[in-house]
Amino acid sequence: MPTAADIVDLRRLLNERFPQAHSRAAASASLPAVPTGVPPLDALLGGGLPRGEVTELVGDGPGSGTAQVLHALIRQTALSGQFLALIDGADSLDVDPIDDETLTRLLWVRCPSASMALKAVDILLRDRNFPLVVLDLKLNPATELRGIRASVWPRLDRLREHQGTTLLVITPQPLVSGVAVRVRLSRQLDLSMTREDAGKILWQLHFELERHGASQASPSAKRVA
């Protein structure tokens, strides 16, 4: 079993041998962030989703709040005058709470399965018209997600990198290999919250930063509830 000291030595050796691989993470840290419209999440990430990178949002179980984050991001993107492409792996977007003006800035791709969703994101990442793409696999069954090969993510990352697209992947469990940023949501929303305003609920979501390739996040903001 390798010790922590061995791992540190290995990382230092890799940094010396392949400096350009690490400079990419440093370069991305200097890029501005994409605000999500969720204040605690933006504070945790140092302004928002790292622009031009992949972020994985893991929602532990139902009621974790990933749908709240998704809707906040859709609204924030529209307020910024941008467009968002949503690849909905299980066709689960709730359209009713979104106002009409915000909907006009959304491209919704309704997929019947995770495999179709991955094909759709492959097509969309080749299009330079969408600086922000969201792949929502939260409601896809575990059997479908287990069928996703690990080689899919590096390939999508190369496509995304070519266009400089910011990609957010929403999953029920850690899935994306080599992701730059992984944030875990673990708060369970309960029935009493359904009577509250959606904007106030965002402050009650529980975020935990598991992995960050850039060092922009403040050290004390590792966990925000």
Binding site: D91, D96, L191
Partner: protein
């Protein structure tokens, strides 16, 4: 200065434009309206085997067993004429359609040819010939100080001929260039008159005395100063090609090859006259007699061949027919180029054509009703929307909320289709109140219900077959999963899960 474009055997050229590889083979064109049908044109390769006009196809095939027969087509000749005129318009706006396959161009107003010498005229004519060759034509070009001289130059001599000395040029032409009647031509042949110069040397008076009034027309045509007014033709803005498949086509490769050639030609024609394409229309005929059509609009008018072809290719990837193709036609809707000023402070679509292609590919992958921008329908039923093609250029930017808005409801994760459920209801505290659900069993959520809120009753469209009615409950199971239960006339369903 005038130029004449002459396409020899125009009817044959109109047909072989779509199959230029056949020019090197023995091909004959059959006139469809005659009985028995007779040949009206043939390639040089067919002529060498002894095939001639006006043989019947049977006679021709007896001389050349490998002869390929094609039928003369008025629609293809019309398309070829449009292409020819559009190509000529790219060089000068003063164009006359003298006869089918023959155009006369007035070059007097062209600044680039003012004071030009023979070499410059030749370069200009070579450019014109190259443009026509790009449209699969085989042109002959003549240039001269009068339309008649230019026409003679186009008919007789090298493929590109510039007339510098009209009198000398006319004298060496064959007497047939003056189009004498058959009797007069026979007479000239007996006299040994072979060139126009020999005819002129006889003198008009003597020739008139012998052949009559026709001599006036012949000597007028032989005059280097004879000219005539030209009747300009309007620029045709029709871009359409059609082609019959015999035998019927079963695979897409040959169709794509043909469509690509047409698109390249359309693109050149459009650029030559300063227009762009606003959309494409593809029509096809099947062996079982049915027809189909598809309109393919472009988000931004363009003349780029790659974009136009990708639009067709993306559609053809999804096209399935029950029978082989017996014919196809492609029409293009011309438009003026659009100049768009983007806003400074709002994001704009960088590449509308790429977006169109992306949407086409997504629709081909998932279906046309699975990709788009949701637009709420004017109904009170929840989750009622349609997907429309995105129009991001016209999308408004929402204004930030100033705090006075109504509270936003919490979004759920919808289950589409809704999950059928079996619900056990408990006892209501009062007989007049509805019975709350206390246990739930469905493929998505199951278990005892810990808390419930509701019901919220909704109904609508009562004027249509009784309308719809539903009763909504928000419930939390013992495992802490909050979901939305709906009871309708058909029973209970789970429509969403809070996440």
């Amino acid at each position: 200065m005038f130029a004449v474009i002459h396409l020899p055997d125009f009817s044959l050229q109109a047909v072989l434009r779509h199959e230029p590889e056949l020019w090197t083979q023995s091909v004959a064109l059959v006139e469809g309206g005659t009985h028995p049908p007779r040949l009206c044109a043939r390639t040089e390769s067919a002529a060498r085997t002894g095939v001639s006009v006006p043989m019947t196809p049977t006679q021709a095939q007896a001389r050349c067993p490998d002869l390929i027969i094609r039928t003369r087509s008025a629609s293809q000749e019309a398309s070829a004429t449009d292409a020819l005129i559009q190509c000529a318009y790219g060089f000068t706006p003063l164009v006359e359609q003298t006869r089918p396959g023959i155009l006369t161009l007035d070059l007097g107003a062209l600044a680039e040819l003012k004071g030009a010498d023979k070499e410059q005229f030749h370069v200009w004519a070579a450019r014109l010939a190259s443009a026509l060759t790009g449209h699969q034509f085989r042109p002959r070009i003549g240039m001269g100080p009068t339309p008649n001289l230019a026409q003679h130059a186009a008919h007789w001599g090298p493929p590109i001929q510039i007339v510098e000395q009209p009198e000398l040029f006319l004298r060496q032409l064959p007497v047939a260039a003056l189009h004498p009647s058959s009797d007069v031509a026979t007479l000239f042949s007996k006299w040994g008159i072979q060139t126009v110069g020999e005819l002129l040397d006889l003198g008009q008076a003597e020739v008139t005395e012998r052949i009559g009034l026709e001599a006036f027309a012949l000597f007028a045509a032989a005059s280097p100063k004879a000219t005539r007014p030209l009747r300009w033709v309007r620029l045709p803005e029709r871009f359409e090609e059609q082609y019959p498949f015999d035998p019927p086509l079963e695979t897409a490769e040959q169709l794509l090859f043909l469509l690509r050639r047409w698109i390249d030609q359309f693109s050149q024609r459009l650029e030559g006259i300063g227009l762009v394409a606003g959309g494409l229309s593809l029509r096809w005929q099947l062996e079982d007699g049915t027809t189909g059509q598809r309109l393919l609009p472009l988000p931004h008018p363009t003349a780029q061949a790659d974009i136009l072809f990708r639009l067709l290719q993306t559609f053809l990837e999804t096209l399935r027919t029950d029978a082989p193709l017996t014919g196809v036609s492609l029409a293009l809707e011309p438009a003026r180029p659009v100049h768009h000023q983007f806003s400074l402070f709002e994001a704009a679509i960088k590449d509308p054509h790429q977006l169109q292609e992306t949407l086409g590919r997504l629709s081909a992958l998932l279906g046309p009703d699975r990709v788009g921008t949701p637009m709420r329908q004017d109904r009170h039923h929840p989750d009622c929307f349609v997907l429309t093609p995105p129009h991001f250029e016209q999308a408004p930017v929402p204004l930030p909320s100033n705090g006075s808005r109504l509270p936003r409801p919490l979004p759920f994760r919808r289950l589409r289709p809704a999950s059928m459920a079996r619900v056990e209801t408990g006892q209501a505290p009062l007989a007049s109140l509805p019975e709350p659900p206390h246990a739930l069993a469905s493929p998505s959520v199951s278990g005892p219900i810990r808390f419930s809120l509701g019901p919220w009753r909704q109904s609508g469209e009562w004027w249509e077959n009784g309308g719809w009615q539903r009763e909504e409950w928000d419930v939390e199971t013992h495992r802490g999963i909050t979901c939305r239960l709906v009871r309708t006339a058909e029973g209970w369903v789970v429509t969403g899960i809070l996440d």
